[in-house]
Amino acid sequence: MAKITFVTSDNDTIITEATTGSVMELAVQNKVKGIDGDCGGVCSCATCHVHVEPAFWDKVGAPSQLESDMLEFDDNVSEYSRLCCQIDVSDAIDGVVLNVAK
């Protein structure tokens, strides 16, 4: 079981728990504002953009080539950007905090 916290751009904090699936699916399930997941999780819509809270970056890990290419020209990109459909829920990311991008 992993506990994952989302902080929306309105500063709403949503604490969730899950064992499987992607972080995007978890966000949609919990109606996290700003995460739409329009493409269904295939890294083609960028409607699932989060900034990993820096302290947890190593836990979450870096994006793949495809994902970082999707993000590179995004107006809101940061060095902690991820498309959360590309992050799998697992014990390894228990406790992380993700800030939903604008």
């Binding site: 699916e25 949609v28 399930q29 493409c39 269904g40 999707m70 590179e72």
Partner: protein
């Protein structure tokens, strides 16, 4: 808003990408009344794109790929009536009739009836064995079930995205696959010749033959195997035949109800039909695209999802006009194709093969100086930049674009 909608009923015909996304968007926009979705498909609503891609090769099944988790239907009070066919719409009474005879009233009706596979009039197709289309979870499951070591010769009729993706997936499962395309190249309706050649070669590299100018005229089932005949007198043996020659839009219900039809159900910028209480969204619509300034019909998740949001807003009194640049993707083997824009009407293409990366390309479609579309192969930068340039009507220096020593960035070709 609550006083206005709390005792109202919104009925949706079709619980797939358009219908389901619409239902959740409607709730989000503040609709407080009932939301009832009907679908003839008994399966809990699932993503279609994986059917020809990961689903065929994975063990998990479509119930791993639900559009929304089951519990969200409960929390958002969205009623699913699956395995139910709507047989008619009565606009005067504001009701729909289910094929079991029951009647459901509506205040707002939303048609998300999508499309079904077009089955061409090929002689002997009806008596051939193991013939499948590829549209529903059941289709994909049946294809998987019928494929085994001794029953693995597959002919795919039609070299569109669905046919090619299915070919890639089945060959991964060990099938011996041949794609028969009637036109002189695959993907001819949707891409430039460069792309057709790329995909043909990709398939050949993986042992799948992709043959063009193959017009299938008849099928004979004999000696426990299908014999697929083409008009150039060639013939191919097949244990399994998959028909992927395009779709037929499900407009019949709308047409019988007297709604305006033109290559799909005609809708305005808010996805409303010519009846103010009836909306239509997704694959079944003929709608105006403001960027390309023309009426189009699209078969894509993007269009279904975007129209769902537009219609939900409109019904809740917050109308905004549809204004999307179309996008689409396709996965074949280890290749990710991402497309943005509409290339129809192009008179020039520029192809870039990036030299600093493996198998990373893009084709840029122009009509004179206007960038219409970009097809990107393992090149999400070109795809994202294409979206940005097209949205902004950016004028592009084509000479710079053709020079691969100039890297892709938002300012490099301006």
């Amino acid at each position: 808003m609550s006083t206005e909608t709390s005792n109202k009923i919104c009925v949706v015909i079709g619980a797939s990408h358009a219908g389901v996304n619409f239902a959740f968007a409607l709730r989000k926009e503040g609709w407080e009344g009932d939301i009832i979705l009907f679908d003839r498909d008994p399966e809990f609503p699932y993503h279609r794109p994986p059917l020809s891609k990961a689903y065929l090769t994975s063990e998990e099944g479509t119930q791993q790929d639900l559009l929304f988790p089951k519990q969200n239907y409960e929390t958002d009070k969205i009623t699913l009536k699956l395995g139910k066919i709507i047989s008619s719409i009565n606009r005067k009474e504001k009701s729909v009739t289910v094929s079991d005879g029951s009647v459901q009233k509506y205040d707002k009706l939303v048609l998300t009836t999508g499309a079904r596979p077009f089955i061409p009039p090929i002689k002997g197709l009806n008596s051939a064995k193991n013939v499948f289309a590829m549209r529903t979870a059941e289709d994909a499951l049946n294809i998987r079930k019928s494929l085994n070591k001794d029953h693995n010769k597959v002919i795919i009729i039609g070299g569109g995205y669905i046919g090619l993706e299915t070919a890639a997936s089945l060959s991964k499962l060990g099938a011996s696959v041949t794609v028969l395309e009637r036109e002189e190249r695959v993907l001819s309706r949707v891409t430039a010749p460069e792309m057709s050649t790329y995909f043909k070669e990709l398939h050949h590299k993986h042992g799948v033959s992709v043959l063009s100018n193959k017009n299938v005229t008849s099928i004979n089932f004999d000696n426990n195997i299908n014999e697929v005949q083409c008009d150039d007198n060639s013939s191919y043996k097949a244990d399994i035949i998959i028909v992927g020659v395009g779709i037929k839009v499900n407009t019949e219900l709308a047409e019988e109800a007297g709604l305006e039809i033109e290559n799909g159900i005609k809708v305005d910028a808010n996805c409303k039909t010519n009846d103010p209480n009836i909306y239509a969204l997704g694959d079944c619509t003929f709608h105006f695209n403001p960027h390309y300034k023309k009426y189009i019909r699209l078969e894509s998740v993007q269009n279904a999802v975007d129209q769902a949001k537009i219609a939900a807003k409109s019904i809740c009194g917050k109308a905004v006009a549809y204004d999307s640049i179309p996008w689409f993707w396709s996965d074949q083997y280890d290749v990710k194709l991402q497309m943005v824009g509409l290339s129809q009407g192009y008179n020039q293409t520029i192809k870039r093969i990036e030299t600093d990366r493996d198998n990373c390309q893009s084709v840029w479609y122009f009509k004179d100086d206007e960038l219409l579309a970009v097809d990107a192969i393992n090149n999400a930068k070109a795809y994202m930049l294409g979206i940005r340039f097209i949205q902004k009507n950016q004028k592009i220096d084509k000479l710079k674009l053709s020079d691969v020593s100039i890297a892709i960035t938002p300012t490099s070709y301006i």
